[in-house]
Symmetry: C3
Subunit: 343 residues, 3 copies
Amino acid sequence: MDFVGSHILSVDQFARGDIDRLFAVADALEPFARRDRITRVLQGAILSNMFFEPSTRTRVSFGCAFNRLGGDVRETTEVKASALAKGESLHDTARVLSGYSDVIVMRHPQEGSVAEFASASRVPVINAGDGANEHPSQALLDLYTVRQEIRAQGRGMDGLRIAVVGDLKFGRAVHSLLKLLALFERISVNLVSPPGLEAPPDVVSVLADAGHDIGVHHDLGEGIHHVDILYVTRTQEERFASPEEADRYRGLFRVNEAIYTEHCEPNTVIMHPLPRDSRAQAQELDEDLNANPNLAIFRQTDNGVVVRMALFAMVLDVVDQVQDHARPVTWYTAKRTPAARHL
Amino acid sequence: MDFVGSHILSVDQFARGDIDRLFAVADALEPFARRDRITRVLQGAILSNMFFEPSTRTRVSFGCAFNRLGGDVRETTEVKASALAKGESLHDTARVLSGYSDVIVMRHPQEGSVAEFASASRVPVINAGDGANEHPSQALLDLYTVRQEIRAQGRGMDGLRIAVVGDLKFGRAVHSLLKLLALFERISVNLVSPPGLEAPPDVVSVLADAGHDIGVHHDLGEGIHHVDILYVTRTQEERFASPEEADRYRGLFRVNEAIYTEHCEPNTVIMHPLPRDSRAQAQELDEDLNANPNLAIFRQTDNGVVVRMALFAMVLDVVDQVQDHARPVTWYTAKRTPAARHL
Amino acid sequence: MDFVGSHILSVDQFARGDIDRLFAVADALEPFARRDRITRVLQGAILSNMFFEPSTRTRVSFGCAFNRLGGDVRETTEVKASALAKGESLHDTARVLSGYSDVIVMRHPQEGSVAEFASASRVPVINAGDGANEHPSQALLDLYTVRQEIRAQGRGMDGLRIAVVGDLKFGRAVHSLLKLLALFERISVNLVSPPGLEAPPDVVSVLADAGHDIGVHHDLGEGIHHVDILYVTRTQEERFASPEEADRYRGLFRVNEAIYTEHCEPNTVIMHPLPRDSRAQAQELDEDLNANPNLAIFRQTDNGVVVRMALFAMVLDVVDQVQDHARPVTWYTAKRTPAARHL
């Protein structure tokens, strides 16, 4: 695909070569994400950060990514603040808002809404989540994290062994990650869920059609043996018919230090799309794992910034200019060098 | 009037010469609004964008206009987030907030509130809507759009023929536009509304006192004959005593491609202050007009940015410095050159 | 204390020397706060302005302070927009958000929450209010105002006579101010409140232990005699068991021009943490004082910006670089020179 001027709506847009190019840009932007250097390459550009559904971390991550490239951010955080409430069509909203800014990031509760919006927009639109449908930057940052963690162990993506654990039926993040992993070679995937929350057939067939190795497990310990990555997911309680139904599954596949030590390999990397539910009955990842250096969940959210910077840089065609606007950071920054990777 | 340091509260402030000067500045700022060039003339300046009533488009339009001049924007979007809720007077709020920023844009549901606020402010205040009272930047962008569209046809404002259609009783936007049009010469105005929603006498007398030609119509087809501009307005349902009363008028004066073709001249420009209600029973401007090159509604909202840039530049006295801080845009921009004017 | 990289959580962190250094920085930043000059020393830095409880003035004041140093601001204004609502721990929220920005300002309704958040944050955190507990920047701006007002009268802080009036039981602002005043020499404090709303023993003992002179008064006129500073505080109605209980105290210790003239010295400075309740039955400071040049309440909020700029500059270690990034303001600014101090 040609990133320049494109909408980023779905993981289905990406071929492996696109991923490789995007991640190469992310690598080059790491010093800017980590506060060794700043760049002002997008000074004067405006991001319209439209969140018609609440989300602190995704919204702030996109906003900070754009600020780190030197651009300004205008935000909308409430559907009730919108003309949509007065019967305006998404088409009209898109035509209007796309006259204000250079790029739009949009989250909306309704599936397909962001693509519909993008079709009328005169500037590139990045989907930050349309209901249960797509959230491509989350999948990309998950994949980038897999790559970074595996690379820190001296290996590449091909031949990766991964277990995805928990609510595989409704977990949008895990579906998208699996689709992206299918672009690589010889992936071995353990699908580990309670009965009733298995991954949907279309996701499984993407992996199967590409010839990857798939195991289906209903037993946690068995499913997380011999993997490089343990990806735990949240019970998407808002997708269930009732809270009671979600309660039936809550905390069933809870991973803690004892389970990790018993079943995982010493270097198995632990990931989670966050937020993790830390209420006593619900923990998917117990807090006793916080000291475990393989817990990559905060490196994972950190990676969200650099992956989003890379998306903006490619879509707005400034990759080659970043270094021209760079200079050292001259204020206090906490040390987040490689030594701190396992903070 | 002297724009420098002034509050912009009402269309009544403007004489024709003021309009001419403002629009000349807007013309000069077009390359910056259209993303051919950026300027940083207001780098370091702060806009306090205070919306005590929801409005996505007006808020974002003002914010983006200020960003395009290089300034920063701080926003407030909720009345409940305000000290007003703790019994603070508008006087105190104004004294406090005007110590934070260089200029304030304010929307407030209560008529007269923005003028009261401005009287205590130590920095210029721009009224972005105070209830049913005033919203001068909307009127200015409407007038600028009339001028631009007519000019694209090789003509000037004097002698303009315009039909204003719909809820002329409660439509703040149309009242203000008519007052501004009264500043020009030999304007011919068709006031087209259902019985009961006629324009109020004070608006009509402003036009009559200036010697303009006024026609009152209750028939849509008849009213939109032989005009340069067809300005359709939204039913201001929030101003009616009950939703049922608003329903009586909804969709009565609906304009679509067939009606346009039958009654209008080939180059009649279609305007609307937006949002237009696109629900089936309510459409004021049917979506089958979307392909009609005379539909100027999105050029109209685009013009909001440049008119607001011009207001900021004049009030903050940086008109003469804009070019000193200018440089080409170096990121991807969709083509919004004259060829795209009829997108 | 060493400001660089530190969290600012409580007034208890500060020794007198710290206050002196902070205020010297604030003095140096005055030209930037007053719009004589701008600086871009923090260009590229990002503040995450997290308000999990509404507050317009504190939020905008922090945001504008950061903008005036050249930095960008990302904001969150609603607890419901937060992952906290999905059961995420403050620890996780802090780990995530501290990967996005260079410094965090946080307000949260729960006592101790900001310190808990800070303990997991990888960047400095400034407490902007955690329930009834601490709001150190308010105390610092109050103290800075005392110093500026007294200095304008040619005197220093040691030997200061101050009356604090009103709800001394729940007034967080006044507790913190008294703790900071205790760091100076020979302070004379009149504690003036209705019976039942006296200052708590721990606050009184901080003053007593440092050897300051304390008077307890239940009579307003008597309590405000012979003081340099009259600090009136708001009835913290949200801290009372019921609105009825708060109503019992409302308006009891109302100060107006007649009371001021009868009981105060001609130069007694009037302060209030704002917002003041201007509803008829509630006024703590009557509006007939607005023309009194000793009413310092708006100079006080203005000082909030410069004190917060000083905090950011010290915590992020850019004090010595501010002048390198400075240049004159070139847009219209209202005159806020010393002559305007008594506006």
